[in-house]
């Protein structure tokens, strides 16, 4: 997972300029694809093109070793604080799953 940084703010979104120093955002680094659930919702009423998936969970994941967060879809029910990891990227969607402990 790539995160972009300037003036101490990290984001998975690549923006053009930094709102603090007004310079072009140039710092990027790789961080692990895993993290913990920061918060979530279960969407029951979906937009027309997602209706076939409902109900589905959308979670905001606090990425490990970064201050950046990432919005993902998860196929199972989760709680805040659950460890999660990337399952796959499909059609631009980060699909995450709970970390299974052996």
């Amino acid at each position: 997972m790539k995160v972009y940084e300037c003036c101490g703010v990290e984001s998975v979104t690549k923006k053009v300029y930094c709102s603090t120093c007004r310079q072009e955002i140039k710092n990027e680094r790789e961080v692990p694809d895993e993290g913990t659930v920061y918060s979530y919702t279960v969407i029951h009423i979906a937009p027309a093109d997602y209706a076939h998936l409902a109900p589905y969970t959308v979670a905001l994941v606090q990425l490990k070793d970064s201050t950046a967060k990432l919005t993902v879809r998860i196929q199972e029910s989760v709680q805040i604080g659950d460890p999660v990891q990337l399952d796959q990227i499909a059609d631009g969607t980060y699909i995450y799953q709970k970390v299974r402990t052996a």
Binding site: V9, S11, V12, T13, Y38, S39, Y40, T41, V42, I43, H44, I45, A46, P47, A48, D49, Y50, A51, L53, Y56, V58, A59, L60, A68, K69, L70, T71, V72, R73, I80, D91, G92, T93, Y94
Partner: protein, 377 residues
């Protein structure tokens, strides 16, 4: 120079099956113009969000000028998602303050009921950045506030019952408002057990799909209602970019700027209309506007402090949740309720006639916020 409110109007909010977007807009405009007949209108500003996508109708400003015989005056439509109405008001105010216009008509309008919920949900999603992984994840507009609510519960002592109590307050206020969409009583139990929309937000936590319009005539000529401040700020367009998920910085900044311009503090405000697109949004807004400490809004709700007879009455109209939310009209309809309050004949009129009123109108998931402060003079 100052700007004054000369007239306000709004249509009945709800289902206007047999009335077009144009006719809703003209009805509200006409009523506001009738009340301010002595003024010559120099420009028209229209707040509207989905006229093009849902009603296949643009050029709204020119239609108003033509059909209401206002002459070849300049007009414009303003779009800022659910803040379209507030932004139109602000542009009208700025147009007068610039010296270009003496009097302007501002009208907000939306027609949505004829479309299916799935279609409206889809188009409302255009109030979020549609090119990102968030959109592909299936995040919806209500979904954002669902994610916020679960985190709010996690970090505070609040739970779903506090949101329900807030929604019930707005419903009870709407019962007294003849122009509100929902005038059927509800119980706390009914609200708690309603169909889930996006966990933990149920049907009563979400503003409805509504048809309606509202209009205001503003002028630099004095009246009994003076605009003390107009402020606007922008915020993140994506959930994952929020520095603090439990903060809507655009509300905080537009509020601070408005207080500073008006030379007043949150304690001075007598009556408030807040953008409660979701129950959770009103919770955050009462904190961001400085009425209650951060993460303690739920305590104020528990103690009934935002009820009509509370220390800080919020949404005496019924709010977006129960008065209804015809998107482009909402910011203008907030003026309607507040001007009636200041003049002493509003639905849920405060016992002590208020002097200072604040309107806060939000667009997107905190992408736009507009705050106006009105004073009875």
């Amino acid at each position: 120079m100052s700007v004054y409110v000369h007239s306000v109007s709004m249509t009945k909010f709800g289902n206007s099956e047999n009335t077009s977007l144009k006719d809703l807009m003209l009805a509200a405009s006409r009523e506001a113009l009738e009340e301010a007949r002595e003024l010559k209108i120099d420009a028209v500003f229209v707040g509207n969000y989905m006229g093009g996508s849902l009603a296949n109708q643009e050029i709204l400003g020119a239609i108003v000028a033509n059909d209401l015989g206002l002459g070849p005056i300049p007009t414009a439509k303003l779009e800022g998602a659910c803040a379209s109405g507030g932004i139109a008001l602000r542009q009208g105010i700025l147009g007068i303050l610039s010296g270009e216009y003496e009097s302007v008509l501002v009208v907000g309008v939306e027609k949505m009921k004829h479309a299916s919920t799935a279609t409206v949900t889809q188009f409302i999603n255009s109030a979020m950045d549609q090119t990102t992984n968030e959109r592909y994840a299936g995040l919806t507009f209500p979904g954002f506030f669902g994610v916020v609510a679960n985190r709010y519960f996690y970090e505070t002592g609040a739970n779903k019952s506090h949101l329900a109590k807030l929604a019930l307050k707005n419903r009870e206020n709407a019962l007294q408002n003849p122009l509100a969409q929902f005038r059927k009583p509800a119980t706390l139990e009914e609200i708690m057990n309603a169909r889930m929309i996006t966990d933990p937000l149920g049907l009563f936590d979400c503003s409805p799909i509504t048809d309606g319009a509202a209009a205001v005539v503003l002028s630099r000529k004095p009246s009994d209602i003076k605009i003390l401040a107009s402020a606007q700020a922008s915020g993140p367009t994506m959930m994952q970019d929020a520095i603090d998920l439990l903060s809507l910085p655009a509300i905080r900044i537009s509020g601070q700027q408005a207080y500073e311009k008006a030379g007043v503090s949150p304690e001075d405000i007598d009556v408030v209309e807040i953008h409660d697109c979701f129950s959770m949004t009103e919770m955050l807004a009462i904190e961001e506007l400085g009425f209650f400490p951060k993460l303690e809004g739920w305590l104020a709700i528990e103690q009934g402090k935002t009820c009509v007879n509370g220390e800080k009455p919020v949404n005496t109209s019924g709010g977006l949740l129960s008065r209804g939310h015809p998107i482009g009209a909402t910011g203008v309809a907030q003026f309607y309720q507040l001007v009636l309050q200041l003049r002493g004949h509003a639905p849920n009129q405060l016992e002590k006639q208020p002097r200072l009123a604040l309107a806060q109108n939000l667009g997107g998931t905190g992408s736009y916020s507009v705050v106006h402060i009105l004073e009875r003079v």
